[in-house]
């Protein structure tokens, strides 16, 4: 029973969610292979072969995979799929884009965003914004699965000594092409990998006021997140959104500021170890999940918090 995990990377570095996905794969079988599809991505391949628990790295190094467009990558994965019983990818925008396409090419019903492995064919996954947890059994011969990173502790980045097999480009498609990207650059930790996250909601009133959160984030080494309302209002970019249809985070400490606690927001943060809520409305639903609630005006509380840190 060999399992293929699709590595997420930017041609220079492996993305951490891959490590959580390898962890999930290792619960099913010790025979875990990583597929790296990219362009001039030797450094990623080196990282991958050192990852704990990885037996083999498949490397498809070709300009066609520079931007990892779904059409070409899905065809590539399909070309090696017959060697595997399971194909896994992180449930990030990368994995969510590619895996269902692969799944249909293989005539398989994908299992999305699993949070627990019961057996090689049975998995738990949240449905209805995490209001319920479903246990689902797959009867397909190949299991195609996306993995919620926060539900599995990452494997180590070292300790492995996988062999590397080069594979050639297969089924390169010209249906789509890359035009450009705007990737936010920040010195703060990545939202999904940070051990502390401080998020702002509509209560922040403006993008400028997010500075109040940023100063605190910098003192704590935290990442900054937001509710949908704050993103929709243009206070912060889309990649700040935490929730059912944004990012899923589970840091040691999550601080929600001026966020009411709608179920769609809770879906993205309620597995955090410790939750703090700062809100001026004592009846805000966020207090029902908060370990520590502070009923206060954020414009008083944040400067004071920053000063005392």
């Amino acid at each position: 029973m060999s399992i293929l995990v699709i590595a997420e990377h930017d041609n220079s570095n492996l993305k951490p969610a891959t490590l959580n996905t390898v962890a999930a794969a290792s619960e099913i079988s010790p025979l875990v292979h990583l597929l790296v599809a990219g362009n001039s991505c030797q450094s990623v391949t080196d990282e991958c072969s050192a990852v704990e628990g990885v037996e083999k790295v498949l490397l498809a190094d070709d300009v066609a995979y520079e931007n990892q467009l779904a059409e070409s990558i899905a065809n590539l994965i399909k070309s090696v799929s017959s060697d595997y019983t399971h194909i896994l990818a992180p449930a990030t925008t990368f994995g969510k884009n590619i895996l269902p396409r692969l799944s249909a090419l293989l005539d398989v019903q994908q299992i999305s965003e699993i949070i627990e492995i019961i057996s090689e064919d049975t998995f738990k996954r949240p449905i209805y914004a995490g209001s319920c947890i479903a246990t689902v059994k797959s009867n397909d011969s190949i299991k195609v699965i996306t993995v919620r990173a926060t539900a599995f502790d990452p494997v180590n980045t070292s300790g492995g000594s996988a062999t590397v097999d080069s594979i050639s480009a297969e089924g390169v498609s010209d249906l789509s092409s890359f035009v450009g990207e705007e990737i936010a650059k920040t010195d703060r930790p990545e939202l999904t990998a940070a051990s502390i996250v401080i998020s702002g909601g509509r209560g922040m009133q403006s993008g400028d006021n997010f500075h109040l959160l940023e100063t605190i984030a910098d003192k704590l080494g935290a990442a900054v997140g937001a509710s949908r309302a704050a993103v929709d209002a243009g206070f912060v970019p889309n990649d700040y959104q935490v929730g059912q249809t944004g990012k899923i985070v589970a840091p040691d400490l999550y601080i929600a500021v001026g966020i009411s606690g709608a179920i769609q927001h809770l879906a993205g943060m309620k597995d955090s170890k410790v939750i703090v809520a700062i809100n001026k409305d004592e009846d805000a639903p966020i207090f029902q999940v908060a370990d520590y609630g502070l009923v206060a005006d954020l414009f008083d509380a944040l400067p004071e918090l920053s000063e005392k840190l």
């Binding site: 931007n67 884009n97 398989v108 999305s112 949240p126 705007e182 400490l253 170890k273 703090v276």
Partner: protein, 250 residues
């Protein structure tokens, strides 16, 4: 240019869904149903393309029970020209839905198909990508901006690191993210007009597609509940608790 918009009837986003007593499935008895919010965004985008003169016809399609007509009527009231219900009493999996939709799309031959990125019931986020594979179409998922230029579309996508722009050949599949547009509300005159628009109902059997399930739902349960916490009186006390009790900051 014809646009097909597949939509789904789902539990309204304000409803907190619970498992049935025997945990065999979720309890959908007497809960409010609506059009999936991402599908409203899909309809809105298609209607705006028609209003801009880019599209000539917008067709809403759903695969579901008889009562899904309600959501198709909403789509018609929001500006779709006609609607198709592929009637099926069971709830199908995304792969089967994509197979059914691909048949309809082969018949209709649109230049663009716009779906929601995710249905908020199963949170699968699969159907659009699967449909693209079955039709061998290009796909642009999680769209926050769509520009049509002759035979291609330039689409900006919401990705984890920020925004990505790609060019896709038409015909193609686009799935909507939250920031693509702000859907309008249906006006009363448009709701009245929608009653007269064409709504074609076809039994799923006519399409002769194998839609048998590949997965089994073994149980549905509530997630572990969080212990209720405490209210602190001051910033001082909060910091104290975080340092000495929770030990999450030093």
């Amino acid at each position: 240019m014809k646009i097909v918009v597949p939509i789904k009837r789902v539990v309204d986003y304000n409803v907190k869904v619970r498992p049935l007593g025997d945990q065999s499935d979720v309890d959908l008895n007497n809960v409010k149903m609506s059009m999936n919010p991402f599908c409203e965004i899909a309809i809105e985008e298609a209607v705006r393309l028609k209003e801009a003169g880019t599209a000539t016809e917008v067709i809403a399609v759903t695969v579901g029970k008889k009562d899904s007509q309600e959501q198709l009527r909403t789509a018609l009231a929001l500006g779709a020209d006609r609607a198709i219900l592929i009637e099926c009493e069971e709830l199908l999996e995304p792969l089967s839905i994509a197979k059914v939709l691909s048949k309809v799309i082969e018949e209709e031959d649109p230049k663009l198909v716009i779906l929601g990125k995710q249905a908020i019931d199963g949170d699968n986020n699969q159907t659009g990508q699967m449909l693209a594979a079955l039709l061998n179409f290009a796909q642009a998922t999680f769209a926050s901006k769509v520009i049509i230029e002759d035979d291609v579309a330039v689409v900006t996508r919401e990705i984890d690191g920020g925004l990505q722009t790609i060019k896709i050949k038409l015909p193609a599949i686009v799935t909507t993210d939250l920031r693509l547009n702000e859907p309008r509300y249906a006006s009363l005159p448009n709701i009245m007009k929608a009653k007269k628009k064409e709504l074609d109902i076809r039994p799923i059997e006519d399409l002769e597609i194998d839609v048998s399930s590949r997965t089994e739902l073994l149980s549905v349960e509530l997630p572990p509940e969080r212990q209720a916490g405490i209210k602190v009186e001051s910033v001082e006390e909060l910091l104290n608790k975080l340092k000495t009790e929770a030990k999450v900051i030093s």
